[in-house]
Symmetry: C2
Subunit: 239 residues, 2 copies
């Protein structure tokens, strides 16, 4: 019997080395808000996004004249023009431009997986698009949550569960992984009301304090775009 491709979920970037060598396809998720912002920026016409892990790298790019977005702990870093609010990218200011991006968790997860052949960016915003593409690719998939400072985070795990559920129900994929089962259960109990389900989550509380409820609602609304950001060389492009 031919083995089916697998779907596995890795909850946090620091666990990634335990999984890395078994996968050619990795979907990075940071629902609140890096990967939601990336999907939105591409939807509104950004040409390239360069993810960088440190503020030092971000400043270097800024000095060279790039548009640079920098977020730490939910806020735009002082001295930078852009942060990681998806709603700030719903316009054509950056159409056909290159954006450099560094965030607390998401860009670190992206760079952690930079040697993977197919590195894709996922979120609720492009949920169906990315699932359809993964089904077409027909290879084993690791879904990598960005977590919060390397700890487990609820919204990324629920989104990972949503992707797992879509792939597994085609019967073209299989899973032998407890984190995939857990993510699926969490998604199934959350799906009727993501916003309510997440009200106790640490990240939602953090962003609520920063008056970012509109951002959260937007990030939790599935299927607002068909874009699939993929890594190409050192930057992300629209597939």
């Amino acid at each position: 019997m031919i083995e089916k491709p697998k779907v596995e979920v890795c909850f946090t970037p620091n666990m990634f080395p335990l999984y890395a060598e078994d996968f050619e396809v990795v979907v990075v998720i940071d629902v609140l808000r890096a990967t939601s912002a990336i999907c939105t920026a591409f939807h509104y016409g950004v040409d390239k996004i360069i993810p960088v892990s440190t503020l030092d790298q971000a400043i270097e790019y800024k000095d060279k004249g790039y548009y640079v977005a920098a977020e730490r702990k939910g806020k735009i870093v002082s001295g930078f023009e852009f942060g990681n609010s998806p709603l700030s990218y719903t316009n054509d200011k950056l159409k056909d431009q290159t954006l450099v991006l560094t965030t607390t968790n998401g860009t670190k997860a992206i760079n952690m997986a930079k040697d993977i052949e197919h590195l894709l960016i996922g979120s609720f915003l492009n949920l169906d698009a990315i699932c359809n593409y993964l089904i077409e690719l027909n290879k084993s998939v690791l879904i990598l949550g960005s977590g919060w400072e390397n700890k487990f985070c609820l919204e990324d795990s629920i989104c990972a569960g949503a992707i797992s559920e879509q792939l597994l129900k085609t019967n073209k994929f299989e899973s032998n992984n407890d984190s995939t089962i857990a993510a699926k259960y969490l998604f199934l109990s959350a799906k009727s009301n993501y916003f309510g389900y997440l009200k106790a989550s640490s990240h939602r509380k953090r962003l609520k304090k920063l008056n970012l409820n509109e951002d959260i609602k937007y990030c939790l609304t599935p299927n607002q775009t068909d874009v699939i950001p993929v890594r190409e060389d050192y930057y992300l492009k629209k597939l």
Copy 2:
């Protein structure tokens, strides 16, 4: 306002360093089967259990004449008399004796947390006993799952959720931690039928192949004992 003690869940031993310094109380869980076996052995009169991480250490103790239990990948290691099946400890063979124990995941988690002031051993078997003791202690608690080779494991997470739920519903504890929320949700959806809920879990499949369904049923049946194993020096004792 006085802050309440916290309940947090750490899903795997390799994440423990992110939490260690904030807690004086750690409950280690390895439902299938190390911590279930430890609770059972104490219930049937074992005096001390010395948890060791490596087979080398286990052999050293064996050569000195100790009773030694050694399990790897679900089986008794060849050359050893005992493994980690709780059912093999439901007799008085080891009454008043010292047992040395090494297992694939559980004893590693126990030794990882060996510098914590109050290190307790939890399982479904002593669920209410350990919760009542934690409520009495009234200190912040970290529940540490043993995982499977450092990956997330479902049954430990559900047991962690069961403990979290009992502590949080007293209103004497609080949690700001997404893994606690997730563990609680997983427990709430599993609690009507642990055995059925876990049927897809990787570990149950692994043990089923080894004809260990009776062990699994036993380990998933709450409140079969009041013993609370605690670390004292380099060994575990009954509180």
